[in-house]
Symmetry: C2
Subunit: 275 residues, 2 copies
């Protein structure tokens, strides 16, 4: 495994996506950053406070005629390579994107913190992925041995780990295994696998705050402390890797080989078996 952006040991980037300072999320953000800062250099992206613009619009980059704008092609691995790879190569990325990329390039640990809205991240965070994780920066370079783009465990941000901190209004039953709303592991698979793992970042176990609207004052204090405690011991935690594309588990068909976990169709099949 190589990485285009070797992280600086002992650094972290905390990305926060909730509008209200006085919310539970606001508390978790401030106290979490404080706890993490005890033994790391922490920088933050407080997306609401920054007024981050989540709308990817390649037209804003072009400067040329509408006919010459990128966007004729919609695909690429994340559906964005052709829209933005060109802009990256030509150094025409907006200043805010360049700034976020600089933070990411340095950070060894990534924390993504947000409330679950409609069973996914708020738009402001989704747009941070859309705009910041450009081809040429986060993915798209070729594996020198295999001759294919490095992705899924081996992308442009390999060598990093990520903690997803999410607050949910529902209880553990509703978003647990077989829960009425779908299990949270699957609901966030597009984030943990489709975004993080795609670009080489290994996710840790989710940090979930259930019943977030019904905690009461004492419950909030308990959750603040539980998060701080976890952050203090992150280095000792095992990662939760998915299967690495280069290991051959998806050879030939781009689907998981028939001899591996035959018959199963749940998203859990993409986890690397323990041991």
């Amino acid at each position: 495994m190589t990485t285009a952006h070797p992280p600086t040991p002992g650094t972290a980037l905390w990305v926060h996506a909730h509008p209200s300072r006085s919310s539970l999320n606001g508390r978790l953000f401030r106290e979490g950053v404080r706890a993490l800062s005890a033994d790391r250099e922490v920088v933050t992206s407080d997306l609401y406070a920054q007024g981050f613009d989540p709308v990817l619009d390649p037209r804003a980059l072009s400067g040329g005629s509408p006919g010459a704008a990128p966007g004729e092609r919609t695909g690429g691995p994340a559906g964005l390579a052709d829209l933005l790879g060109d802009a990256h190569a030509r150094g025409r990325l907006p200043a805010d994107v360049v700034g976020e990329q600089a933070k990411l390039a340095r950070a060894e640990l990534l924390v993504l913190q947000f409330p679950l809205w409609w069973y996914g991240p708020p738009a402001i965070l989704k747009g941070w992925f859309d705009r910041v994780l450009t081809a040429g920066f986060a993915f798209g370079d070729l594996d020198p041995e295999l001759g294919v783009p490095r992705r899924y465990g081996d992308g442009g941000l390999a060598g990093r780990r990520a903690l997803v901190v999410v607050t949910a209004g529902e209880d553990a039953g509703s978003i647990g295994p077989r829960g009425v709303s779908g299990d949270l592991e699957s609901l966030l698979f597009p984030l943990t696998h489709g975004v993080l793992w795609y670009v080489g970042v290994e996710p840790l176990d989710l940090h979930v705050v259930h019943d977030a609207d019904a905690l009461g004052a004492a419950g909030v204090e308990r959750e603040v402390e539980r998060l701080a405690r976890r952050l203090r011991t992150l280095d000792a935690e095992p990662g939760r890797p998915y299967r690495r594309l280069r290991d051959g588990d998806y050879r030939d068909t781009r689907a998981l080989r028939a001899d591996l976990l035959p018959g199963r169709t749940d998203l859990g099949i993409h986890r690397l078996p323990a041991g």
Copy 2:
């Protein structure tokens, strides 16, 4: 089943979320709307063209002191009820949200069209859900028999069907069953089940354009025609309902009852069995 907003028969709302008019998505949008207009009254929400703001920020609604702003609580069914239900009740919703809700309230068929970016909808569409589907409009009213909020097959927008049209850069193997990127049905479950079904809208089979960046001119024409053909026969299509919460399949634990599809943990367990 009752609905807070009875749709007008023969109407459709087409929501489009791609920045470029000259893209494949731009073509599919224009030709799709044309085909659908043959036998329906179609209104559109071209989110990029409208300059739709996807960032939910309750602070913009308040007008009061920061201490009085909504957002202290983060939960509710979609994590948003407490943030915005209040604003809905007091008629303080922004004009653009009111406009989108008026379109939704009238439409019988909903089409959501977008490119798959990072294995989900672009931020501008995610934010359309975050901002437009407010408590009091799309969910939150009580089932008069059961005394619980109507949701999952019986929400504020019941009586509608939806077609999701999505372009993907990957091939059918990569996002098919056991595909390396996860199967698209599961990747979009937060949308089809967590958004649409939650508020009562029944999704039809996904309309997927694979290999969207490698179609070539003839391939684009084929896809335009395939979509138009499908739109002409939508009324004859069976829906793809998930389980209705009120039917009792999740009784007591909020997880699928142990006697139903025992042992399975894939998201497909939430589909209503055929027949």
